[in-house]
Amino acid sequence: MIRLFGILAGLFFTVAVMWSFATGAFVAATEGLGEETAEHAFHKYPKDLHLASDGVFGTFDKAQLQRGYQVYKEVCAACHSMKFVAIRDLADLGYNEAQLKAEAASWQVPGIDPSTGEATMRPGLPTDYFPSPYPNTVAAAAANNNAIPPDLSLMAKARHDGSAYVYSLLTGYQAQPAELLKEFPASKTPTGLHYNPYFPNLNLAMAPPLTANGQVTYAPGNPDPTIDQMAQDVAAFLTWTAEPTLDKRKQTGWPVLGFLLFATILAFFAKKQIWSAVKPSRKD
């Protein structure tokens, strides 16, 4: 009885889903598999980017992180917040306590006037988080053609292949290709947006932020601040902001795996010895 009922139920679902299949196949046969879109044809996967923190043995290059921080501070921070990162976290980049205090004081953060209680701005302390450039999202949208600049704290983890994505986006601005306009005349980049094949829908509200070599002046002893170098450095910096514990994670992993490998080998021989008394030989 259960089996009869089961066969009927099984046939019901099978017929229902094949009905969907037949309808879809009929549509595909008569109208094709949907139209090709400009996004699909022209979107590019991120370029290759090699960072010191890559791989299972990689660690952050502190000099590069400091350069990337400088790019963030002088360029990105004009529009992008980084609200989950505290100024004190910069200690990871190799700054000492006096440098941290000086660095913190170079940021203006919202505060309260101790004599009047009114909202005011004050120099930052190491315990402060990086301040947002806009008082609220409405202000951020109003200043940026209705596109709110996203918070950058987690950007390197919030996109597929995030570090390379940041680097590719910053160096990927270009004129819209002629083939694109020929194939998809309706997909011309609207006014106020900028063509960038590394952005999912190809047209980005952010104007090219890195426009000239030497836009940021690096301290002596660092590489030349070309656009490509600055983009790599800020990508490295955002890799760190997304996961400041990355180095510690990998450094913890190796002894853990080493111990487990040792314990597993011991467990294997323990198992072998215990089972030697009954000698099972699996034939199945």
Partner: protein, 431 residues
């Protein structure tokens, strides 16, 4: 119940004698997972996954309780407290990565456990109740994992919650009121986040309770084995401890090596980048996908694209998705073959390896892919086979198949002849 030759617990010193008289917990453990539980001697490594699933449950509860100490289930700060755990809490990143990947590994071992059960027909009499309780555990796990994924309050958390609770809206007439009641509002918000947190904390303990019933039910007939032939004599068995504690110990080592490789070197591989973007009800992600362990069922949900007579496509998808799991409850009565193990069932074996397994792979892949062709049509074909397999093929195969000859006993399967196979004839097994 146990086998007559099961070793009996003997308290040896004053403390254990005292305990055995007042609260015989050591005796219970000894009989459940100690030397007092005789187990078939021929279990393969496919029998490791029950213990590993139990380990995962404990791991999830321990890491989860620690995470709950630092997390706040409030829509305004939930995403921020998750980042607080990742950045400021001592070893918080390790706890969170272990918990997130622990959920994935829990599903990996449970899927292997379930498919072991499919191949060896572990659901058949006298083990129906173990199987039914197992399916209950799986359903509870799905609910728990779904609600857990909502807690970080990222984009996939929010939109996943919206899509899944939206399924209830497909039920005619009462659907939408039920959806609003479940969410505590018209869309996922603080009320939903709070109740999801509460239930996410509660359900693992419910799972632990059902696991105890699952193991209790297991101890009535004893463990199944790769031949599917029941235990006949003492020679067919070895005590669980030390034989299977040693074997499970080795399995646990392999499991932990793989698990820690993920936690320390690829912790975000199984997650979705969008969940590192704070929930935003005004911005829909391009592709809303659940966690990987739901992909096969998500593919079944989305396979129904047109109305089937008077049944709307969405309702059909919801019914099929739930039916896809509920059908497992009926397996003990759908598959009537007297032979359990797939090793002795030639036709069943073909449908398992060339039907069910590829179908699950296709459903898995299509569930994670965008809802475009050819994935929709592929998932429709796979969905059709899925229901045919369990509800039509399995009952028919069990009536037309001619099984291969079974070994007389487990011992014969292991050693060739029953005569030389008396356990402890020449050597005394170490206990």
């Amino acid at each position: 119940m146990s086998f007559p030759w099961a070793r009996q617990y003997e308290p040896k010193n004053g403390l254990t004698k005292f305990l055995d008289e007042k609260l015989p917990l050591p005796r219970l453990v000894y009989g459940a997972i100690g030397a007092g539980y005789p187990v078939p001697r021929n279990l393969s490594y496919m029998w490791n996954f029950g213990v590993l699933a139990g380990f995962c449950l404990v791991l999830q509860i321990v890491t989860g309780v620690v995470l709950a100490m630092h997390y706040a289930p409030n829509a305004l700060v939930a995403f921020g407290t998750t980042e607080h755990i990742m950045r400021d809490v001592n070893w918080g990143w390790m706890m969170r990565y272990a918990h997130a990947n622990g959920a994935s590994f829990f599903f990996i071992v449970v899927y292997l456990h379930i498919f072991r059960g499919f191949f060896y027909s572990s659901y058949k009499a006298p083990r129906e109740m173990i199987w039914l309780l197992g399916v209950v555990i799986f359903l509870l796990m799905m609910a728990t994992a779904f609600m857990g994924y909502v807690l970080p309050w990222g984009q996939m958390s929010f939109w996943g919650a919206k899509v899944i609770t939206g399924l209830f809206g497909a039920i005619p007439i009462v659907g939408e009121p039920i959806q609003v009641w479940l969410l505590g509002g018209f869309a996922p918000d603080n009320a939903a986040l709070n109740r999801f947190f509460s239930l996410h904390f509660l359900l693992p303990f419910v799972i632990a309770g059902v696991v105890i019933l699952h193991i209790w039910a297991l101890h009535i007939p004893g463990s199944s084995n790769p031949t599917g032939v029941e235990i006949k004599t003492e020679a067919d068995t070895v005590p669980f401890h030390p034989y299977y504690t040693a074997k499970d110990g080795f399995g646990l080592g392999i499991f932990l090596l793989l698990f820690c490789t993920m936690v320390f070197f690829l912790p975000n591989y199984l997650g979705h980048p969008d969940n590192y973007i704070e929930a935003n009800p005004l911005s829909t992600p391009a592709h809303i996908v659940p966690e990987w362990y739901f992909w096969p069922f998500y593919a079944i949900l989305r396979a129904f694209t047109v109305d089937f007579f008077f049944v709307p496509a969405k309702l059909m998808g919801v019914l099929a998705m739930f039916a896809a799991i509920l059908v497992w409850f009926f397996l003990p009565w759908l598959d009537k073959s007297p032979v359990r193990s797939g090793h002795y069932r030639p036709l069943f074996r073909k449908f398992f390896w060339f039907g069910l397994i590829p179908t699950m792979a296709v459903l898995f892949y299509c569930g994670g892919a965008p809802a475009e062709e050819p994935f929709v049509m592929l998932s429709q074909l796979a969905t059709a086979y899925y229901f045919l397999h369990f509800l039509v093929i399995l009952p028919l195969v069990s009536s037309i198949e001619k099984p291969e000859p079974l070994p007389y006993s487990i011992t014969e399967a292991v050693l060739g002849s029953d005569k030389k196979a008396v356990l402890g004839e020449n050597t005394t097994p170490a206990v």
